[in-house]
């Protein structure tokens, strides 16, 4: 540790103003503060809100994603061998290794593309490197089908980082969740890879590999039943995007984020309430002929991207409302919209992505209304007192 610190101190002057690599200042700063706690002291007035800075927050999110990621790797292999019907003949190691080989390149591509754009932009603007992408770069692979071509991952990541984030001013300024922008881009740009039928589970590429299949949601859309055991859906042994299938793994991540206070329980909670209530209403009053309306509300909650979206996407502090009561409204509407899209639009068996993006757009409006109401309420109180 000491040697590393010494080395960094010895090369540091090169990167400071006037040094020969001063144009790489922000890159250097990014790495230095990644390795060591910054020792800079603010000289003017400071407004300390929390001892945990962005880097630590983001790292908690990445840690929270690990269970879903590891399970996703296992499940990728599991589904592969299940399709081949040789599940009994392979060991746990084989299954995990197959999934690892499929998933790991996607993560590498997402990080390399995203971080290079992030570094380049920070360098051009003379900003510090922001850590926001560490979480986004992990979220992007988790919402992709396991067999998505790598160049498509690269294009989607670049699109999401540039048009979803950097044009708005970088980390903390974006209107929409960049990982969902990447997914939405794929969804609309390459529908043959991610059409409504196999939206969380691409298929065409490795057909010879026995890697085809529809998601449980799209099966349910057609036949009215998912064809899977309810507990399998909770554990996550169903086809789907890499990170979304296991409710248990996602719950572990949710627990970590809630304990550390990184994610808001209000948003998370109200997404589930909104989803359950809407799905329940459809169960009661929906058309008999609409399979999705008749799908049990408990199935709706554990299938597709609902849990993953509720825990990791909807709670993104940048794109959700800042006001506490706004979070309830925001979460509730996400849950409700997701189910409404699933049920009423046969083209999109999965509505979570679109619901979150839609409510991201309205988050500032929700905040505005809440703040406005608060102001008028307090004004009234002042009037009452003055009387």
């Amino acid at each position: 540790m000491k040697a590393l610190r010494k080395y960094i101190d010895s090369v540091k002057p090169n990167f400071e103003e006037g040094g020969k690599f001063s144009w790489l200042r922000s890159t250097f700063g990014g790495f230095e503060t990644f390795l060591f706690t910054p020792n800079e002291v603010n000289k003017g007035g400071v407004h300390v809100r929390d001892a945990v800075d962005l880097k630590r927050t983001i790292i908690v999110v990445v840690l929270a994603l690990l269970p879903a990621l590891l399970f996703g790797m296992y499940n990728t292999g599991y589904q592969h061998f299940r399709m081949h019907g040789i599940l009994d003949a392979v060991t746990f190691g084989d299954i995990f290794w197959y999934g690892f080989v499929q998933v790991f390149p996607i993560i590498v591509v997402s990080y390399v593309v995203g971080l290079s754009i992030e570094f380049a932009v920070a360098q051009m603007r003379g900003h510090e490197i922001n850590e926001g992408f560490l979480a986004t770069g992990m979220l992007i692979p988790l919402v992709m089908p396991a067999d998505v071509p790598l160049w498509i991952v690269a294009v989607a990541t670049a699109f999401a980082v540039i048009f979803g984030k950097e044009v708005f001013g970088g980390t903390g300024m974006n209107l929409w969740n960049p990982a969902l922008i990447a997914r939405a881009f794929l969804f609309f740009a390459y529908p043959s890879k991610m059409s409504g039928d196999s939206v969380w589970y691409g298929n065409q590429v490795n057909v010879a590999d026995g890697f085809s299949g529809a998601t449980a949601l799209s099966v349910a859309n057609q036949t009215g039943s998912t064809g899977f055991d309810f507990m399998d859906q909770v554990y996550g042994f169903i086809p789907g995007s890499i990170g979304e299938t296991s409710v248990i793994a996602i719950a572990l991540g949710a627990l970590l984020m809630l304990c550390t206070g990184v994610a808001s329980w209000k948003t998370m909670f109200s997404v589930f309430i909104g989803g359950a209530l809407t799905a329940y209403l459809f169960n009661q009053f929906g058309a008999e002929s609409n399979n999705m309306a008749q799908l049990c509300w408990c199935d709706h909650l554990v299938l597709g991207g609902f849990c993953f979206g509720a825990v990791f996407m909807a709670t993104d502090p940048v794109t959700s409302p800042r006001t506490e009561s706004g979070k309830y409204i925001y979460g509730f509407l996400i849950g409700a919209m997701a189910i409404i899209i699933r049920v009423l639009n046969p083209g999109y068996p999965e509505g979570m992505m679109l619901a979150i993006l839609l409510l991201n757009t309205f988050a500032p409006l929700i905040d505005n209304i809440i703040v406005g109401r608060n102001i008028s309420r307090r004004k009234n109180r002042v009037k009452q007192i003055a009387k």
Binding site: W151, I152, V155, V167, F185, F188, A189, Y190, P191, S192
Partner: protein, 209 residues
């Protein structure tokens, strides 16, 4: 043929630093609608050029006789006449394209570039200057349309003017797929934004303080 400095500016500025689409942000609606392919985009650009130029000349000739209070209606009548003529000509000689353009030829009448130029330029300037201004603005509009359509058609359909560029088996087998989002209007907006971005980055005058 040499042009005075003022006329030169009227002709050339709209192509670059005073472009109606990327700087004044006018005519965006049709730029989104007709740019999925190059051919309709080019025809649309040329139609607008012809209409702006002629309308500019006509209004410029009448500018001293038009009563101020009904000038918008007079301008509309002139533009509507020209749009109808162009629409009929397209139907007669380029039927396929006119079907592709559908209502957007008729909607040229609502294109802000037209009314903008008539109000801002033709009402104050002589016919020759107005003609150059119309040509300049029309071509400035056409230029952006063609650039946007170039990217949209190439990346979205893999063709240019309908000729096959990317749809060969070798390319498809390598894993390339045409980008469906390029064919949707939102992508035209994003490409427009990129052109604006590029233009402002290279033009200090256009950057806001």
């Amino acid at each position: 043929m040499s042009l005075s400095k003022k006329n030169k500016e009227a002709l050339l500025n709209p192509l670059s630093i005073n472009n109606p689409v990327t700087v004044q942000v006018l005519g965006i609606c049709s730029a989104l609608a007709v740019t999925a392919q190059l051919e309709p985009a080019l025809v649309m650009g040329l139609s607008v050029t012809v209409i702006v130029a002629i309308a500019n000349v006509v209004i410029s000739l009448m500018r001293n006789t038009i009563p101020n209070r009904i000038r918008i209606i007079v301008q509309l009548v002139v533009v509507a006449t020209l749009v109808t003529i162009v629409s009929e000509v397209l139907k007669a000689f380029a039927y396929d394209v006119s079907v592709q353009l559908s209502v957007y030829v008729g909607l040229i009448i609502t294109n802000c570039i037209l009314m903008g130029r008539l109000e801002a330029f033709a009402m104050q300037n002589g016919p020759w200057a107005s003609f150059l201004d119309g040509i300049g603005n029309g071509l400035g509009y056409a230029k952006i349309l063609v650039i946007v359509a170039f990217f949209r058609e190439l990346l979205g359909s893999g063709t240019l003017f309908g000729f096959n560029i990317l749809n060969y088996d070798a390319i498809q087998e390598a894993g390339y797929i045409n980008n469906g989002l390029m064919l949707m209007p939102p992508m035209a907006l994003i490409i427009c934004a990129c052109i604006i971005w590029w233009q402002r980055a290279h033009n200090k005058d256009l950057q806001e303080k």
